[in-house]
Amino acid sequence: MNSALVTFIIYLVILLIIGWIAFKATKSYDDYVLAGRGLNPWVTSLSAQASDMSSFLLMGLPGAAYVSGMSSIWTAIGLTAGTLFNWRYVAKRLRRFTEITNSMTISNFLEARFEDESKLLRIVTSIIIVVFFIVNISAELVGSGKLLSATFGYNYNFSLMIGLGIVVLYTVIGGFFAVAWTDFFQGMLIFLGVIMIPLILIPDVGGFGHIINEMGKASPDLLAVMNNESGWLAFSGIVIGALALSIGYPGQPHILVRFMAIKRPSEMRKGMLIAMVWVIASLYGAILIGLIGHGANMNVDDPENVIVYLAQTFLSPWMVGVIVAIVMSAIMSSVSSYLLVAATAVAEDFFAQIFNKQLDERTLKIIGQISIVLVSIIAFLLARPGGFVFVLALFAWAGLGSSIGTVILLSLYWKRTTKWGAITGLIVGMLTTILWYSLGLSVYIHEIFPGFLLSMLSIIIVSLMTDPPSKEMMSALEQSKRPLQSEYEALEAHLNGQE
């Protein structure tokens, strides 16, 4: 057995141990789906960021930086700005409001916010989540299949199964606790990786000046902030493409549930700071890795695998195992979160509603676990033919951002938003994204823009045409702007030294 494989197996064993500890710590269904709302800011933050950043971080972004050079920084700006917006303007209000309404999932929250007793809102939300998350999971699986087969030489299907098998195992047994803590571990690993890899490799390839010189020789365009091909297409592709990523943030349920799980809303600012340091280091580290590829004087057949080629060329075999573990961390932390959110939607929003009776916690948990396995089997079947990872992932990002994102933003910030407004917004956003993408209009402008805009407009118009929400809901929304009673009590207990 080669040493790269040994390091990689050690990594997988650590994940399973965390899963087992989480399994022991999980007492109730609330623990299973939201860790009993008891996460500290470090775990909340790194878990949110690690779930957010998928194979895109260490395969897609270095690949983009290799191909387009300095202009890939637009992407980093879009993602960083979106992250900051989400933490500062969505996280705390959402956390408080979901405590007031005792909601554990996004569809729960929307149902409570819009006082919907018809189940329609819940079902539409969960269909959107399940459809786009299955696309996301299979995109990540394609990434992991490519990575493991390129590194260890296994066949593609077997590679798919290794990555997926371990994630499914720890997600099924340990639920949210396992997902959040493995995310934390993986988040730390990614952080160390994106800092260490450029620090080790830049001197190895001959310094930053050498990299820049090689980039210029390959094409002076690589050193330009905007590629030479000017005009609307380049502008919409680079600048607007980056902005498109940022407006999708409030619609990503796997990130939003992290906000809902933090113990104290007042600690959100600490989470925001940790998240921003992490995200800036990670994105710029990833871009540097792509640029280093130019200085290394090696064959780059697939730009998305540039990190693996660099490791194989410059590092010892056991370090290659560490690098694969770091890239797999980015993939697995996202897949586990997608799986848990999609499975909770299937269990709570389909099964529990179809049987239309109060299921006990034990049954709900078992249905949740079966759903994780079902969702992963569908994603596996979709991933088998392989394909373009990032086009698909970006499409799912747009679909969620322009349906759930607009509804979440308006539900928190515009009291007048009504149930019918929200339902229309969800459907209009989803259909616009799918149609725009299928008609091939994405080459002119990314599908998230028309999706987001039309969804927003339709929510406003339909809300104004329907009856306003009840007085109780208006006052609950007002409450979520300020600290809750429970926060004052926690603060008092803290000051009295009881905690």
Binding site: A81, G209, S266, M272, P483
Partner: protein, 37 residues
Amino acid sequence: MMEYTLSVGTWMWFVGPPVLLLLLTLYFFIKDKEVFK
């Protein structure tokens, strides 16, 4: 053979945005401290 280097503008482009966004985060971090007042 021509040597390529980064212009000052590109350097600023590389370093500027993350520094500005981090400063903005710090500003929010400090501003949000007064939450219970």
